[in-house]
Symmetry: C2
Subunit: 224 residues, 2 copies
DNA sequence: GTAATAGTGTCTTTTAGACAATATTGG
DNA sequence: CCAATATTGTCTAAAAGACACTATTAC
């Protein structure tokens, strides 16, 4: 079980990595890896509960966006022999994730550059992470996923910024608003965000709303 | 490892099921189930190779469309205790799948009605099958998947029919053709299908083409 | 000729893209 | 007033929906 936990910090999409123990009897000592571990058949009623537990251990976030990413199994991925892992990916807001979580002295946020991170990863985690990034970027083209990278209340501009950061390009303000409003998954709260200029309406996710699919991708041209 | 193998037979989307051995020391004796079994760590280099082997065992089809569906793991799914499975789903043409495949005396095609099949399934295979059907129907809205349900050469009308059968509704001929041609994943072969009326151009999948994503779903209204 | 299916064209609707215009705050 | 950001409007383009029309075969 491995979990790719994403957030946006300092305007950058980032993933949480943990450092493997530096003991020679463990594979890949000292290398960075996705947080994970074995299923605890006494504590985890199913795979998703296991993924949630891993996430809580590292970040103290309890209700993120969590999606199964896939499974990896082969005779090569672990030097000890044939092995499999279940991978999940999670999106969490920056606010809820202090640099040091519960038992996370060995954990760190790494910004995503291109298709991965700059550090070398253990096992096949480079491939898993790349798949997670692909999946995230692909779904952002036609779903409301980036809303899960924001705290409970946010402005329309902040939401647009999340889309732009994950997509790696700017989107057009007017089209963005039309698309978001007509998808009907957020609602205004009776508060404004005040700043040095015109205040902005605050919104929150509708309680009933899951992930919303837009009827088109962002760019009919140039992408996919 | 379980595989949901779909084809279209007699104008119906159908899934291949196998009957479990009728011995009381096995769970769910005599019930129907998705074809599957354990990974053979000597023969299967990775999970996909294992899924391909299961498929070949039952259908003699070697190069289908094969996609990882997900993993199921919990303490309840097998009466013998905590267990996990990796599920794949496959699409194959009807032609290549005789009722009795290699070791498939116990195998049968079951038409899909609604979200599943009429027979009771072992383990959590009802849930896995439902997920597979959902995934298939959802992807058919915006990808070229149904082409893998056809033999090598096919007419445009036959392709349209595959979309309609999986979607469970009719699609408009003109819009369908425009969409397919502009996605540029099939090419004409210099042959026609002759019938009782005007012959139809035959097409085949472009050799370089994988699954194609259309820029929009079929129905901006009413769906998703 | 007719029946049947293959294939094309025309018009409307929806929504993204581009870009401009207006609105509301702090100073 | 001006600067800065929020919010809305207008026009164009791409592609689907609806539906009619033409084309080519067997008979």
């Amino acid at each position: 079980m491995d979990v790719a936990i994403f957030t946006v910090r300092q305007q950058q999409l980032s993933v949480l990595l943990v450092q493997r123990p530096n003991t020679p009897d463990e594979p890949f000592p000292g290398l960075w890896a996705l947080p994970g571990g074995f299923v605890d058949i006494d504590r985890d009623r199913d795979l998703e509960a296991c993924a949630l537990r891993k996430l809580r251990d590292k970040t103290a976030v309890t209700s993120p966006y969590l999606e199964q990413l896939g499974s990896w199994g082969s005779k090569d991925r672990d030097p000890r022999g044939w092995s499999t892992t279940h991978a999940y990916f999670a999106l969490i807001p920056d606010a809820g994730t202090p640099e040091a979580g519960a038992n996370a002295a060995d954990a760190a946020w790494n910004p995503i550059t291109g298709n991965g991170v700059t550090v070398k990863l253990a096992f096949d985690h480079r491939e898993i992470l790349e798949t997670a990034i692909d999946r995230l970027r692909s779904k952002v083209e036609y779903t409301s996923l980036p809303v899960y990278l924001l705290p409970t209340e946010f402005t329309m501009t902040e939401l647009q910024r999340m889309f732009e950061i994950v997509l790696g390009r700017e989107v057009e303000k007017s089209a963005f608003r039309t698309r978001v409003f007509s998808a009907d998954f957020i609602e205004p709260v009776p508060r404004m965000r005040e700043g040095q200029q015109r205040p902005a309406q605050l919104y929150r996710l509708q309680r009933s709303s899951g992930v919303v699919f837009f009827p088109r991708t962002f760019s009919p041209r140039g992408h996919r």
